[in-house]
């Protein structure tokens, strides 16, 4: 267990491992995303109330789910970085923020596009959309804080503290927004009633959610590889790699 833990702290080992994982995970992920999209777009029946516009669910919900999970991944990496002072946890945390922000952005934009045919307006202060918007702000806050620090080792620690504070706060924010929405809005335009979804619509959704999780892992590893190289650029193994790969 501890040897594995220490191995994760070793940049060249992680760099090679991530390369090996990406070699097969990246094609599988892309294939799964395409397959899931085709399944959702072409092989599921339309919703009896919303017609075909509900097909946006196959990207909206997975993006939202993974964006939220990504915040917790970031916070866990932050906690590891603060407690064990592991350099690789810093790097993982740093890599999470832009990916999470991108996925939150997708969830917001697709939610907004979905809102137009459903509610007749591009933006509704619906509890979920509002919560997503706040999550987007939280991610951007981490990115902004990281960029503001000149010393990147300290930047990572500061972001770790911020993301841990966010972890405590996110459930509170979500519950508050939920409650706020139910107070101000009669529950008439509630949709995607969670458990009542038909299996023929649910399976492609679950499939897409797993594909988005794989996408998150791929993007995380890709971003971490760049950060590893930039931080370790004075070490012998990166220089050897650069002469070998970038020499031509």
């Amino acid at each position: 267990m501890w040897t594995l833990f220490h191995k994760f702290g070793s940049p060249p080992w992680l760099y090679r491992l991530s390369g090996a994982i990406l070699r097969w995970l990246l094609p599988i992920t892309l294939l799964a995303l395409v397959a899931g999209a085709v399944w959702g777009l072409l092989f599921t029946p339309p919703d009896f109330r919303q017609g075909n516009s509900y097909r946006i669910i196959y990207i909206h919900v997975p993006a939202a789910v993974v964006a939220l999970a990504g915040y917790y991944v970031m916070a866990i990496a932050g906690a590891v970085s603060l407690i064990w002072r592991m350099k690789m946890a810093d790097i993982a945390m740093r890599a999470c923020a832009p990916i999470g922000a991108a996925l939150t952005f997708v969830a917001l934009v697709t939610g907004s596009i979905w809102g137009k045919p459903t509610w007749g307006t591009w933006w509704v202060w619906d509890a979920r959309i509002t919560s997503m918007l706040i999550l987007f702000f939280l991610y951007l806050g981490v990115v902004a804080l990281y960029e503001a620090y000149e010393n990147k080792a300290l930047a990572a620690k500061a972001c770790a503290v911020l993301s841990l504070v966010g972890t405590v706060n996110i459930p509170i924010i979500y519950k508050s927004v939920d409650w706020w929405y139910s107070l101000h809005q009669p529950a008439s335009i509630k949709f995607t009633g969670g458990s009542t979804i038909d299996p023929s619509m649910l399976y492609p959704l679950l499939f897409m959610i797993s594909a988005f999780y794989c996408l998150f892992v791929c993007a995380l590893l890709l971003n971490m590889r760049v950060e590893i190289l930039e931080r370790e650029q004075r070490t012998a193994w990166v220089r050897a790699l650069a002469t070998e790969r970038g020499g031509s």
């Binding site: 990246l26 892309l30 995303l33 999209a37 777009l41 072409l42 092989f43 599921t44 029946p45 339309p46 017609g51 075909n52 516009s53 097909r55 946006i56 990207i59 909206h60 993006a63 990916i99 991108a102 996925l103 952005f105 997708v106 934009v109 697709t110 596009i113 979905w114 137009k116 045919p117 996408l215 791929c218 993007a219 890709l222 971003n223 590889r225 760049v226 190289l229 930039e230 650029q233 990166v238 220089r239 790699l241 650069a242 002469t243 790969r245 970038g246 020499g247």
Partner: protein, 67 residues
């Protein structure tokens, strides 16, 4: 296959614009999520490789003057 023709797939009973634009925006974001770090990695390795060659002062294999 739920739809009968390609035009039905594109139109989706009038919701086609919304559905397809949502999917294409997502596609764009996903592609950039994969492409941007890969390009950064390649560019970084190329720059560092060049830096190392410059500092070592080694001549290219075919020591020809470039124009």
């Amino acid at each position: 296959m739920y739809f009968e023709s390609l035009s039905a797939v594109l139109q989706m009973d009038g919701h086609g614009t919304f559905v397809w634009s949502a999917y294409f925006i997502t596609l764009g974001v996903i592609v950039s999520m994969i492409y941007v770090p890969r390009r950064r990695e390649k560019r970084f390795l190329r720059q560092l490789g060049g830096q190392i060659r410059r500092s070592e002062g080694s001549n290219p294999p075919s020591a020809r003057k470039e124009v």
